[in-house]
Symmetry: C3
Subunit: 134 residues, 3 copies
Protein backbone atom coordinates (compact mmCIF):
# COMPACT_ATOMS: atom_id res chain seq x y z
CA UNK A 1 0.00 0.00 0.00
CA UNK A 2 1.32 3.46 -0.88
CA UNK A 3 2.06 6.05 1.78
CA UNK A 4 -0.84 8.13 0.48
CA UNK A 5 -3.23 5.19 0.82
CA UNK A 6 -1.98 4.37 4.33
CA UNK A 7 -2.41 7.97 5.48
CA UNK A 8 -5.86 8.19 3.88
CA UNK A 9 -6.85 5.03 5.75
CA UNK A 10 -5.59 6.48 9.02
CA UNK A 11 -7.68 9.64 8.60
CA UNK A 12 -10.84 7.78 7.61
CA UNK A 13 -10.40 5.78 10.80
CA UNK A 14 -9.57 8.72 13.09
CA UNK A 15 -12.27 11.08 11.81
CA UNK A 16 -14.74 8.20 11.86
CA UNK A 17 -14.17 7.86 15.61
CA UNK A 18 -15.44 11.42 16.08
CA UNK A 19 -18.49 10.67 13.94
CA UNK A 20 -19.15 7.48 15.91
CA UNK A 21 -19.15 9.26 19.29
CA UNK A 22 -15.80 7.86 20.42
CA UNK A 23 -13.81 10.97 21.38
CA UNK A 24 -11.56 9.02 23.77
CA UNK A 25 -10.46 6.60 21.07
CA UNK A 26 -9.86 9.59 18.81
CA UNK A 27 -7.63 11.23 21.44
CA UNK A 28 -5.65 8.00 21.92
CA UNK A 29 -4.27 8.42 18.38
CA UNK A 30 -2.22 11.44 19.46
CA UNK A 31 1.26 10.98 20.93
CA UNK A 32 1.51 11.77 24.68
CA UNK A 33 3.46 14.96 23.87
CA UNK A 34 1.38 16.02 20.85
CA UNK A 35 0.83 19.67 19.95
CA UNK A 36 -2.57 20.76 18.72
CA UNK A 37 -3.52 24.18 17.40
CA UNK A 38 -7.28 24.54 17.23
CA UNK A 39 -9.17 26.66 14.70
CA UNK A 40 -9.67 29.26 17.43
CA UNK A 41 -5.89 29.60 17.75
CA UNK A 42 -5.85 27.89 21.15
CA UNK A 43 -2.79 25.70 21.63
CA UNK A 44 -3.15 22.39 23.42
CA UNK A 45 -0.12 20.63 24.85
CA UNK A 46 -0.16 16.85 25.14
CA UNK A 47 -2.71 14.13 24.64
CA UNK A 48 -4.61 14.78 27.86
CA UNK A 49 -5.30 18.43 27.06
CA UNK A 50 -6.42 17.31 23.61
CA UNK A 51 -8.66 14.67 25.19
CA UNK A 52 -10.24 17.17 27.59
CA UNK A 53 -10.93 19.56 24.71
CA UNK A 54 -12.54 16.96 22.43
CA UNK A 55 -14.65 15.67 25.32
CA UNK A 56 -15.96 19.19 25.97
CA UNK A 57 -16.72 19.60 22.28
CA UNK A 58 -18.50 16.26 22.18
CA UNK A 59 -20.57 17.16 25.26
CA UNK A 60 -21.52 20.42 23.57
CA UNK A 61 -22.66 18.61 20.43
CA UNK A 62 -24.80 16.20 22.44
CA UNK A 63 -26.20 18.87 24.76
CA UNK A 64 -27.15 21.28 22.00
CA UNK A 65 -28.63 18.57 19.78
CA UNK A 66 -26.24 19.16 16.88
CA UNK A 67 -25.83 15.45 16.21
CA UNK A 68 -25.40 13.79 13.74
CA UNK A 69 -21.97 15.21 13.30
CA UNK A 70 -20.10 14.12 10.22
CA UNK A 71 -16.61 14.80 8.85
CA UNK A 72 -15.33 14.33 5.34
CA UNK A 73 -11.62 14.37 4.59
CA UNK A 74 -10.27 15.03 1.12
CA UNK A 75 -7.61 16.65 -1.03
CA UNK A 76 -4.91 14.80 0.91
CA UNK A 77 -1.21 15.36 0.26
CA UNK A 78 1.24 13.15 2.17
CA UNK A 79 5.02 13.06 2.03
CA UNK A 80 7.68 11.25 4.03
CA UNK A 81 10.39 13.39 5.62
CA UNK A 82 14.05 12.37 6.05
CA UNK A 83 13.41 12.13 9.80
CA UNK A 84 10.96 9.28 9.23
CA UNK A 85 7.87 11.32 10.00
CA UNK A 86 5.08 12.08 7.57
CA UNK A 87 3.83 15.52 6.67
CA UNK A 88 0.17 15.43 5.72
CA UNK A 89 -2.07 18.24 4.50
CA UNK A 90 -5.76 17.75 3.91
CA UNK A 91 -9.11 19.50 3.82
CA UNK A 92 -11.88 18.52 6.20
CA UNK A 93 -15.50 19.45 5.65
CA UNK A 94 -17.54 19.46 8.86
CA UNK A 95 -21.32 19.11 8.77
CA UNK A 96 -24.14 18.17 11.08
CA UNK A 97 -27.77 17.14 10.83
CA UNK A 98 -29.95 17.74 13.90
CA UNK A 99 -32.60 15.03 14.33
CA UNK A 100 -35.41 15.47 11.79
CA UNK A 101 -33.76 18.55 10.41
CA UNK A 102 -31.71 19.69 7.45
CA UNK A 103 -28.04 19.00 6.80
CA UNK A 104 -25.74 21.95 7.36
CA UNK A 105 -22.25 21.93 5.87
CA UNK A 106 -20.73 24.61 8.03
CA UNK A 107 -16.97 24.84 7.69
CA UNK A 108 -13.97 23.82 5.60
CA UNK A 109 -10.82 23.31 7.63
CA UNK A 110 -7.23 22.96 6.38
CA UNK A 111 -5.41 20.37 8.47
CA UNK A 112 -1.61 20.16 8.62
CA UNK A 113 -0.28 17.21 10.57
CA UNK A 114 3.01 15.60 11.46
CA UNK A 115 2.41 11.87 11.81
CA UNK A 116 4.78 9.25 13.15
CA UNK A 117 4.61 5.60 12.06
CA UNK A 118 3.11 3.33 14.73
CA UNK A 119 2.98 -0.34 13.78
CA UNK A 120 1.03 -0.55 10.55
CA UNK A 121 -0.62 2.82 11.15
CA UNK A 122 0.23 6.27 12.58
CA UNK A 123 -0.05 8.60 15.54
CA UNK A 124 -0.42 12.37 15.38
CA UNK A 125 2.53 14.30 16.80
CA UNK A 126 1.25 17.71 15.80
CA UNK A 127 -1.90 19.11 14.23
CA UNK A 128 -2.56 22.64 13.01
CA UNK A 129 -6.11 23.50 11.99
CA UNK A 130 -7.22 26.62 10.14
CA UNK A 131 -10.87 27.29 9.34
CA UNK A 132 -11.78 29.13 6.14
CA UNK A 133 -13.18 32.58 6.85
CA UNK A 134 -11.38 33.13 10.18
CA UNK B 1 -4.49 -2.29 -7.85
CA UNK B 2 -5.30 -2.46 -4.14
CA UNK B 3 -8.66 -3.68 -2.87
CA UNK B 4 -9.44 -0.17 -1.66
CA UNK B 5 -8.74 1.30 -5.10
CA UNK B 6 -10.83 -1.38 -6.85
CA UNK B 7 -13.78 -0.77 -4.54
CA UNK B 8 -13.45 3.01 -4.91
CA UNK B 9 -13.54 2.56 -8.69
CA UNK B 10 -16.64 0.40 -8.44
CA UNK B 11 -18.50 3.04 -6.44
CA UNK B 12 -17.49 5.93 -8.69
CA UNK B 13 -18.88 3.88 -11.57
CA UNK B 14 -22.09 2.79 -9.83
CA UNK B 15 -23.00 6.17 -8.31
CA UNK B 16 -22.09 7.83 -11.60
CA UNK B 17 -24.80 5.76 -13.30
CA UNK B 18 -27.39 7.38 -11.04
CA UNK B 19 -26.02 10.82 -11.84
CA UNK B 20 -26.07 10.05 -15.57
CA UNK B 21 -29.75 9.02 -15.56
CA UNK B 22 -29.09 5.32 -16.00
CA UNK B 23 -31.05 3.72 -13.12
CA UNK B 24 -31.37 0.38 -14.95
CA UNK B 25 -27.64 0.01 -15.37
CA UNK B 26 -27.25 0.94 -11.72
CA UNK B 27 -29.70 -1.80 -10.68
CA UNK B 28 -27.89 -4.39 -12.81
CA UNK B 29 -24.92 -4.13 -10.44
CA UNK B 30 -26.89 -5.84 -7.65
CA UNK B 31 -26.99 -9.64 -7.42
CA UNK B 32 -30.38 -11.21 -8.32
CA UNK B 33 -30.94 -12.05 -4.62
CA UNK B 34 -29.59 -8.77 -3.19
CA UNK B 35 -30.95 -7.23 0.00
CA UNK B 36 -31.36 -3.47 0.20
CA UNK B 37 -32.36 -1.44 3.23
CA UNK B 38 -33.34 2.07 2.23
CA UNK B 39 -32.88 5.18 4.39
CA UNK B 40 -36.61 5.03 5.16
CA UNK B 41 -36.14 1.57 6.69
CA UNK B 42 -37.94 -0.14 3.80
CA UNK B 43 -36.40 -3.48 2.92
CA UNK B 44 -36.17 -4.51 -0.71
CA UNK B 45 -35.64 -8.13 -1.68
CA UNK B 46 -33.89 -8.92 -4.94
CA UNK B 47 -32.64 -6.96 -7.91
CA UNK B 48 -36.05 -6.40 -9.47
CA UNK B 49 -37.52 -4.77 -6.34
CA UNK B 50 -34.40 -2.60 -6.19
CA UNK B 51 -34.83 -1.72 -9.87
CA UNK B 52 -38.48 -0.79 -9.40
CA UNK B 53 -37.60 1.42 -6.44
CA UNK B 54 -34.77 3.29 -8.18
CA UNK B 55 -36.94 3.81 -11.27
CA UNK B 56 -39.66 5.39 -9.13
CA UNK B 57 -37.09 7.60 -7.47
CA UNK B 58 -35.67 8.61 -10.83
CA UNK B 59 -39.16 9.44 -12.16
CA UNK B 60 -39.75 11.56 -9.08
CA UNK B 61 -36.52 13.49 -9.62
CA UNK B 62 -37.39 14.15 -13.27
CA UNK B 63 -41.04 15.01 -12.59
CA UNK B 64 -40.32 17.42 -9.77
CA UNK B 65 -37.43 19.09 -11.57
CA UNK B 66 -34.84 18.21 -8.95
CA UNK B 67 -32.21 17.40 -11.54
CA UNK B 68 -29.22 17.67 -11.68
CA UNK B 69 -28.78 15.04 -9.07
CA UNK B 70 -25.24 14.39 -7.97
CA UNK B 71 -23.64 11.94 -5.55
CA UNK B 72 -20.24 12.09 -3.95
CA UNK B 73 -18.74 9.06 -2.23
CA UNK B 74 -15.96 9.35 0.31
CA UNK B 75 -14.43 8.11 3.54
CA UNK B 76 -14.35 4.58 2.15
CA UNK B 77 -13.23 1.61 4.26
CA UNK B 78 -12.97 -1.76 2.51
CA UNK B 79 -11.88 -5.12 3.86
CA UNK B 80 -11.90 -8.64 2.46
CA UNK B 81 -13.65 -11.30 4.53
CA UNK B 82 -12.57 -14.96 4.85
CA UNK B 83 -15.63 -15.91 2.79
CA UNK B 84 -14.24 -14.04 -0.21
CA UNK B 85 -16.70 -11.16 0.00
CA UNK B 86 -15.81 -7.54 0.68
CA UNK B 87 -17.23 -5.44 3.46
CA UNK B 88 -17.33 -1.77 2.46
CA UNK B 89 -18.40 1.25 4.48
CA UNK B 90 -18.56 4.71 2.99
CA UNK B 91 -20.24 8.09 3.25
CA UNK B 92 -22.33 9.44 0.40
CA UNK B 93 -23.26 13.09 0.07
CA UNK B 94 -26.36 13.66 -2.05
CA UNK B 95 -27.04 17.01 -3.67
CA UNK B 96 -29.08 18.44 -6.48
CA UNK B 97 -29.23 21.61 -8.54
CA UNK B 98 -32.56 22.46 -10.17
CA UNK B 99 -32.13 24.15 -13.55
CA UNK B 100 -30.99 27.77 -13.12
CA UNK B 101 -31.13 27.42 -9.38
CA UNK B 102 -28.83 26.99 -6.41
CA UNK B 103 -27.03 23.82 -5.36
CA UNK B 104 -28.50 22.09 -2.33
CA UNK B 105 -26.42 19.54 -0.43
CA UNK B 106 -29.25 17.83 1.41
CA UNK B 107 -28.16 14.62 3.10
CA UNK B 108 -25.20 12.56 4.26
CA UNK B 109 -25.77 8.81 4.11
CA UNK B 110 -23.71 6.04 5.68
CA UNK B 111 -23.55 3.09 3.29
CA UNK B 112 -22.64 -0.45 4.44
CA UNK B 113 -22.31 -2.96 1.64
CA UNK B 114 -21.38 -6.57 1.13
CA UNK B 115 -19.81 -6.89 -2.31
CA UNK B 116 -18.91 -10.04 -4.19
CA UNK B 117 -16.14 -10.15 -6.78
CA UNK B 118 -17.43 -10.27 -10.35
CA UNK B 119 -14.74 -10.51 -13.01
CA UNK B 120 -12.49 -7.49 -12.51
CA UNK B 121 -15.17 -5.61 -10.59
CA UNK B 122 -17.97 -6.28 -8.05
CA UNK B 123 -21.68 -6.76 -7.52
CA UNK B 124 -23.65 -5.66 -4.48
CA UNK B 125 -25.12 -8.52 -2.43
CA UNK B 126 -26.45 -6.31 0.35
CA UNK B 127 -26.70 -2.59 1.03
CA UNK B 128 -27.75 -0.84 4.22
CA UNK B 129 -28.26 2.92 4.08
CA UNK B 130 -28.69 5.23 7.06
CA UNK B 131 -29.31 8.94 6.62
CA UNK B 132 -27.94 11.38 9.20
CA UNK B 133 -30.70 13.00 11.23
CA UNK B 134 -33.21 10.18 10.88
CA UNK C 1 1.94 4.47 -7.95
CA UNK C 2 -1.16 3.69 -10.01
CA UNK C 3 -2.35 5.98 -12.80
CA UNK C 4 -5.39 6.85 -10.71
CA UNK C 5 -3.22 7.87 -7.75
CA UNK C 6 -0.90 9.93 -9.96
CA UNK C 7 -3.82 11.78 -11.53
CA UNK C 8 -5.45 12.34 -8.14
CA UNK C 9 -2.18 13.82 -6.90
CA UNK C 10 -2.00 16.12 -9.93
CA UNK C 11 -5.49 17.49 -9.29
CA UNK C 12 -4.96 18.02 -5.57
CA UNK C 13 -1.88 20.02 -6.52
CA UNK C 14 -3.48 22.01 -9.35
CA UNK C 15 -6.73 22.86 -7.54
CA UNK C 16 -4.73 23.67 -4.43
CA UNK C 17 -2.92 26.39 -6.38
CA UNK C 18 -6.26 28.12 -6.98
CA UNK C 19 -7.10 27.86 -3.28
CA UNK C 20 -3.67 29.23 -2.34
CA UNK C 21 -4.06 32.34 -4.52
CA UNK C 22 -1.55 31.22 -7.16
CA UNK C 23 -3.51 31.54 -10.43
CA UNK C 24 -0.34 31.92 -12.51
CA UNK C 25 1.13 28.66 -11.27
CA UNK C 26 -2.24 27.03 -11.95
CA UNK C 27 -2.22 28.31 -15.55
CA UNK C 28 1.34 27.05 -16.09
CA UNK C 29 0.01 23.48 -15.83
CA UNK C 30 -1.81 23.83 -19.15
CA UNK C 31 0.00 23.11 -22.43
CA UNK C 32 0.71 26.20 -24.57
CA UNK C 33 -1.96 25.09 -27.05
CA UNK C 34 -4.53 23.92 -24.48
CA UNK C 35 -8.27 24.17 -25.09
CA UNK C 36 -10.55 25.17 -22.23
CA UNK C 37 -14.32 25.24 -22.24
CA UNK C 38 -15.62 27.19 -19.28
CA UNK C 39 -18.92 26.51 -17.48
CA UNK C 40 -20.36 29.52 -19.29
CA UNK C 41 -19.64 27.81 -22.62
CA UNK C 42 -16.86 30.27 -23.46
CA UNK C 43 -13.96 28.63 -25.27
CA UNK C 44 -10.44 29.66 -24.44
CA UNK C 45 -7.59 28.88 -26.83
CA UNK C 46 -4.11 28.44 -25.43
CA UNK C 47 -2.47 28.88 -22.07
CA UNK C 48 -2.32 32.67 -22.19
CA UNK C 49 -6.07 33.06 -22.72
CA UNK C 50 -6.59 30.59 -19.86
CA UNK C 51 -4.19 32.61 -17.71
CA UNK C 52 -5.96 35.88 -18.47
CA UNK C 53 -9.31 34.33 -17.59
CA UNK C 54 -8.20 32.83 -14.28
CA UNK C 55 -6.51 36.11 -13.32
CA UNK C 56 -9.75 38.01 -13.93
CA UNK C 57 -11.66 35.47 -11.88
CA UNK C 58 -9.12 35.70 -9.08
CA UNK C 59 -9.33 39.51 -9.08
CA UNK C 60 -13.11 39.23 -8.90
CA UNK C 61 -12.91 36.92 -5.88
CA UNK C 62 -10.53 39.27 -4.07
CA UNK C 63 -12.44 42.44 -5.00
CA UNK C 64 -15.84 41.11 -3.97
CA UNK C 65 -14.56 39.57 -0.74
CA UNK C 66 -15.56 36.03 -1.66
CA UNK C 67 -12.38 34.57 -0.24
CA UNK C 68 -11.69 31.96 1.14
CA UNK C 69 -12.27 30.05 -2.01
CA UNK C 70 -11.95 26.29 -1.73
CA UNK C 71 -12.20 23.44 -4.24
CA UNK C 72 -12.75 19.76 -3.55
CA UNK C 73 -12.15 17.18 -6.24
CA UNK C 74 -13.67 13.71 -6.09
CA UNK C 75 -15.24 10.82 -7.96
CA UNK C 76 -12.23 10.64 -10.24
CA UNK C 77 -12.06 8.23 -13.19
CA UNK C 78 -8.79 8.07 -15.12
CA UNK C 79 -7.82 5.90 -18.06
CA UNK C 80 -4.83 5.81 -20.37
CA UNK C 81 -5.51 6.06 -24.10
CA UNK C 82 -3.54 4.26 -26.86
CA UNK C 83 -2.13 7.66 -27.88
CA UNK C 84 -0.37 7.96 -24.52
CA UNK C 85 -2.67 10.64 -23.16
CA UNK C 86 -4.92 10.26 -20.12
CA UNK C 87 -8.65 10.83 -20.11
CA UNK C 88 -9.82 12.00 -16.68
CA UNK C 89 -13.33 12.73 -15.47
CA UNK C 90 -14.01 14.12 -12.04
CA UNK C 91 -16.42 16.16 -9.99
CA UNK C 92 -15.35 19.42 -8.38
CA UNK C 93 -17.27 21.08 -5.58
CA UNK C 94 -16.62 24.81 -5.32
CA UNK C 95 -17.25 26.70 -2.09
CA UNK C 96 -16.26 29.93 -0.45
CA UNK C 97 -16.32 31.48 3.00
CA UNK C 98 -16.28 35.28 3.20
CA UNK C 99 -14.33 36.54 6.23
CA UNK C 100 -16.34 36.04 9.42
CA UNK C 101 -19.22 34.62 7.47
CA UNK C 102 -20.81 31.28 6.64
CA UNK C 103 -19.53 28.66 4.23
CA UNK C 104 -21.42 28.44 0.97
CA UNK C 105 -21.08 25.33 -1.20
CA UNK C 106 -22.32 26.83 -4.44
CA UNK C 107 -21.72 24.56 -7.41
CA UNK C 108 -20.84 21.05 -8.52
CA UNK C 109 -18.87 20.93 -11.75
CA UNK C 110 -18.14 17.92 -13.95
CA UNK C 111 -14.61 18.17 -15.32
CA UNK C 112 -13.43 16.23 -18.39
CA UNK C 113 -9.75 16.57 -19.15
CA UNK C 114 -7.18 15.25 -21.55
CA UNK C 115 -3.85 15.15 -19.74
CA UNK C 116 -0.43 14.49 -21.20
CA UNK C 117 2.40 12.99 -19.15
CA UNK C 118 5.04 15.56 -18.19
CA UNK C 119 7.98 14.13 -16.22
CA UNK C 120 6.50 12.50 -13.14
CA UNK C 121 3.29 14.51 -13.40
CA UNK C 122 0.93 15.89 -16.07
CA UNK C 123 -0.16 18.91 -18.05
CA UNK C 124 -3.69 19.70 -19.19
CA UNK C 125 -4.18 19.65 -22.97
CA UNK C 126 -7.93 20.16 -22.84
CA UNK C 127 -10.54 20.82 -20.17
CA UNK C 128 -14.30 20.83 -20.50
CA UNK C 129 -16.31 22.04 -17.51
CA UNK C 130 -20.06 21.69 -17.06
CA UNK C 131 -21.83 23.12 -14.02
CA UNK C 132 -24.88 21.32 -12.63
CA UNK C 133 -28.08 23.31 -13.17
CA UNK C 134 -26.92 25.15 -16.29
Amino acid sequence: MSLHAEVQRFYVHQLGLLDDDRPDDWADLFTPDADFREVTGTRLHGREEIRASVRRRHEHVVTTGLDFFRHWLGMLQASATPAGTVHARSYALAMYTPADNALRVYVNVVCEDVLIPHGSTFMVRSRHLRADGR
